[in-house]
């Protein structure tokens, strides 16, 4: 383990430089004199990465994105983004002579007639699923560690934008092959858009260039998929990484780790080598999966045509929560008012999901306002030390998971021999009750874990060794902690509910009252870390 200070020490050259290093030096000098790049190298090369597995999830997302870019570029060479009708004459017997769009035919050609095409398609799609999954897990890590707190709120928002862009990329890509499954997906989107009051139909006609499905949607989605969205994504990704360098990485509490330093491995040379190797591992896992497991077998689905629809039509996993929202909304919410149809069975999920997404995006600001904490934080919080936040997170995860499961309600029904109504009604109940139960359980578990930590910090581990004192009293010996372990247990920020204070004019505004109530909700139940005095007296006790 190297501290930030250690990395600045440089070894003085002992021997005369060899020819190779003279050349390197000359090149470096040439470049630096023209670009001043050494400043960046100095800054980046000394970027410190603390060691913890969960800090690498963002990297997984980054590396799968690179895999997506590479395989996607290959696919653009052969994909024809038009909806011109052609008769398929490729080598797949199951669709020979069938009329279909050029987009679908060229995707079939990529799969069957272009060398390595199917592998590339599968790499592209599996990597996309992994990309969004890694982003999701990375966001959960950041959330539960409180790593979104000042000064990282903006980076949370950028990361959130990346997540939304990734979903947009995924959905546009899913729709491009113009097979039956993707067409069904687009039809659902078309229905959702048309369900928007007043403007819905206009937006739908604008989007599809006329009545669904039209002949314009595939080329339009293609432009979005390979040009606009990736451009924004790459820009936002650059900003995300830049801010990560500027803000430094958070780290877990430990001896020698403070709010003012970062303890870890500098990027050069070891970490870069490790990370480079890790890139190949991620890429390798993706290629292995793509070699052995089918994804999106479009040849099974057939060309899109608005009349057929398949049982078990689901979107890719990351859009599942929206599909689940549509499946769980109770019937009978549609009515006509002022000459317009109000489809609340579409508007309601849109509102609920919209609110959920907005809450995720602005959570750092909400928590900062409630806690009134304007300090910078660079120590990663253990989830148990922020019981209310962890509980909110657990509730959110449960909410999302129920919606997600609902997208597979038909498959749950057939595979577990249940009725689809029972599955739907149970999930409807769970959507409301699940988050509440998860909140209560998570909060109690966090408090219990904090209590346990406090107990251990004060009294050490139970050693299981019983001794009898001369007076006949039995007593269990507690094994004290070493300083390293104790640090981990006691070094966390202890918040207290905000007091209501009158402002300069001596009044208490309603906003202040709300804030106080929320603050009490956040911090009323809490376990303070063991203080120095307590620790000292505790050590003396045993």
């Amino acid at each position: 383990m190297t501290t930030a200070q250690d990395t600045t020490t440089t070894k003085s050259p002992v021997a005369a430089p060899t020819r190779g290093s003279r050349f390197t030096g000359a090149v470096a000098n040439y470049l630096d004199e023209r670009t001043s790049i050494s400043g960046i190298t100095k800054e980046l090369g000394r970027k410190i990465f603390p060691d913890h597995w969960s800090f690498m999830l963002g990297e997984v997302a980054l590396y799968s994105f690179i895999a997506i870019l590479l395989s996607g570029t290959f696919l653009t060479f052969f994909f024809e983004p038009t909806m011109t009708q052609v008769h398929y004459e490729g080598s797949y017997v199951g669709l020979k002579g069938i009329e279909m769009s050029a987009a679908y035919a060229s995707t079939l050609d990529i799969s069957f007639d272009i060398r390595g095409g199917l592998l590339m398609r599968q790499v592209h799609h599996w990597a996309a699923l992994l990309f969004v999954a890694a982003i999701g897990l990375h966001m959960l890590r950041v959330f539960f560690n409180g790593s979104f707190k000042k000064p990282r709120e903006l980076n949370w928002v950028i990361g959130f934008v990346l997540f939304i862009l990734a979903m947009g990329e995924g959905f546009t890509g899913y729709s491009l092959p113009d097979d039956l499954l993707s067409g069904n997906g687009l039809r659902i989107i078309d229905g959702m858009v048309k369900g928007i009051p007043l403007a819905g139909t206009w937006i739908s006609y604008l989007l599809f260039g006329g009545e669904f499905p039209g002949t314009a949607i595939v080329p339009r989605l293609y432009s979005l998929h390979i040009l606009l969205l990736p451009a924004i994504l790459v820009a936002a990704l650059g900003l995300h990484l830049l801010l990560m360098v500027i803000n430094k990485h958070t780290q877990y509490a430990g001896p020698g780790r403070t709010n003012d330093n970062v303890v870890g491995v500098p990027i050069m040379p070891n970490f870069a080598a490790k990370a480079g190797g890790f890139f190949f591992v991620v890429f390798g896992v993706i290629v292995l999966i793509s070699s052995f497991f089918t994804i999106n077998p479009i040849w099974n689905y057939g060309p899109y045509d608005p009349s057929p629809i398949s049982a078990g039509t689901q979107p890719d996993w990351y859009i599942g929560f929206a599909d689940g929202g549509l499946r769980l909304v109770p019937p009978g919410l549609e009515f006509v008012l002022w000459g317009h149809t109000w489809s609340f069975n579409i508007i309601l999920p849109l509102i609920v999901l919209g609110l959920f997404i907005v809450l995720v995006a602005i959570y750092p600001f909400l928590e900062a306002w409630i806690t009134g904490d304007k300090r910078e934080h660079h120590i990663t919080e253990r989830p148990r030390n922020a019981p209310t936040r962890t509980a909110i997170g657990a509730a959110g995860v449960t909410f999302y998971a129920v919606l997600w499961a609902a997208a597979a309600s038909d498959i749950l029904a057939t595979h577990f021999h249940l009725t689809i109504e029972a599955v739907t009604h149970s999930l409807q109940a769970l959507l409301i009750l699940g988050p509440i139960i998860a909140y209560l359980i998570a909060k109690r578990v966090c408090l219990a874990l904090q209590k346990k930590d406090r107990e251990i910090a004060l009294h050490g581990y139970e050693s299981g060794r019983m001794i009898r004192l001369p007076g006949g009293e039995y007593h269990e010996v507690h094994q004290p902690l070493d300083d390293y372990e104790r640090w981990r247990l006691v070094d966390y920020v202890d918040y207290k509910p905000l007091m209501i204070r009158p402002d300069a004019r001596g009044r208490i505004s309603p906003v202040q009252r709300v804030r106080a109530v929320l603050s009490r909700w956040f911090f009323e139940d809490r376990i303070s870390p063991a203080t120095r005095a307590e620790l000292e007296s505790g050590e003396g006790h045993h």
Partner: protein, 268 residues
């Protein structure tokens, strides 16, 4: 006969022909040909009717012992089971041939289970039911070979079948516990019979809706799908994005998280 001819011969020998000989000859000729014809045709029909009658009788016995509880002694139906008049041999062959009948229990839908009868017994019951009223017969072998138009069959399948059975034939959920079963490994004959008879919750696809040739195309498409492994590798049950999503979370991300833990593990 012989006596007549001998008298003829005797008459010729005496140089005289009996005045009735011509009439007798014609009569004999007519009688022998007509009789032989009648005899031959009646023996043929008698033989088949004996076999069918035997089969029907046998089928009736099996029916009375195993099916009559729900369908009634005369197959006219009870409150527990529908009338079987006009369902035809095809229906019996499907329901008993896939093990769905006799039902294990009353429920939203009879599930496939191990066969309870031999094919011979099933044929007997089929003969019995077919003897009650006309209905669809067991399909001709020529539609079942699976050598018809696969691509057209796929199109027909997507338009007519995929909304319940899923495009890949993986099956799907219906309301109230009913379901469209998976079509993987189902025999061609049973697929054809299901289309003609509309078993359980399935609609009937009559010959005016899907011609026998259309049905043969669909069967060829399903055979093609069954026989050809997915070109992309393991197909994860053909369930589409749900199994793909589960797979990437559990095995993809799981493997990679394992690697991150390994990379960041300290040497000690």
């Amino acid at each position: 006969m012989r006596t007549h001819t001998s008298t003829d011969a005797r008459g010729r020998q005496t140089g005289r022909r009996h005045p009735l000989a011509s009439i007798a000859l014609i009569t004999i000729g007519l009688l022998s040909t007509g009789g032989a014809y009648a005899l031959m045709t009646t023996t043929a029909s008698a033989e088949t009717s004996v076999a069918t009658q035997q089969s029907v009788n046998e089928g009736q016995k099996i029916f009375a012992a195993n099916c009559a509880t729900c369908h009634g002694m005369t197959a006219s139906g009870t409150k527990d089971g529908p009338s079987l008049y006009g369902v035809g041999a095809a229906s019996v062959d499907f329901q008993m041939g896939t093990g769905r009948m006799p039902l294990a229990y009353q429920g939203p839908q009879g599930a496939q289970k191990p066969l309870q009868f031999t094919q011979e017994q099933i044929d007997d019951v089929a003969a019995y039911i077919a003897s009650l009223a006309p209905g669809p017969a067991v399909p001709d072998e020529k539609y079942l070979a699976g050598d018809a138009d696969v691509a057209l069959g796929g199109q027909l399948f997507r338009t007519n079948c995929a909304m319940c059975h899923n495009v890949a034939g993986a099956g799907g959920a219906l309301t109230e516990g009913k379901f469209a079963p998976s079509l993987k490994g189902v025999e061609a004959r049973h697929i054809y019979e299901a289309m003609v008879t509309g078993p359980q919750n399935m609609p009937v696809f009559s010959d005016s809706n899907l011609s026998p040739q259309d049905k043969a195309d669909i069967i060829s498409f399903l055979k093609f799908q069954n026989q050809h492994a997915s070109p992309g590798g393991v197909d994860l049950g053909g369930l589409g994005p749900v199994s793909e999503g589960l797979f990437i979370w559990i095995f993809g991300l799981g493997a990679i998280v394992g690697v991150t833990i390994w990379i960041t593990a300290r040497p000690n």
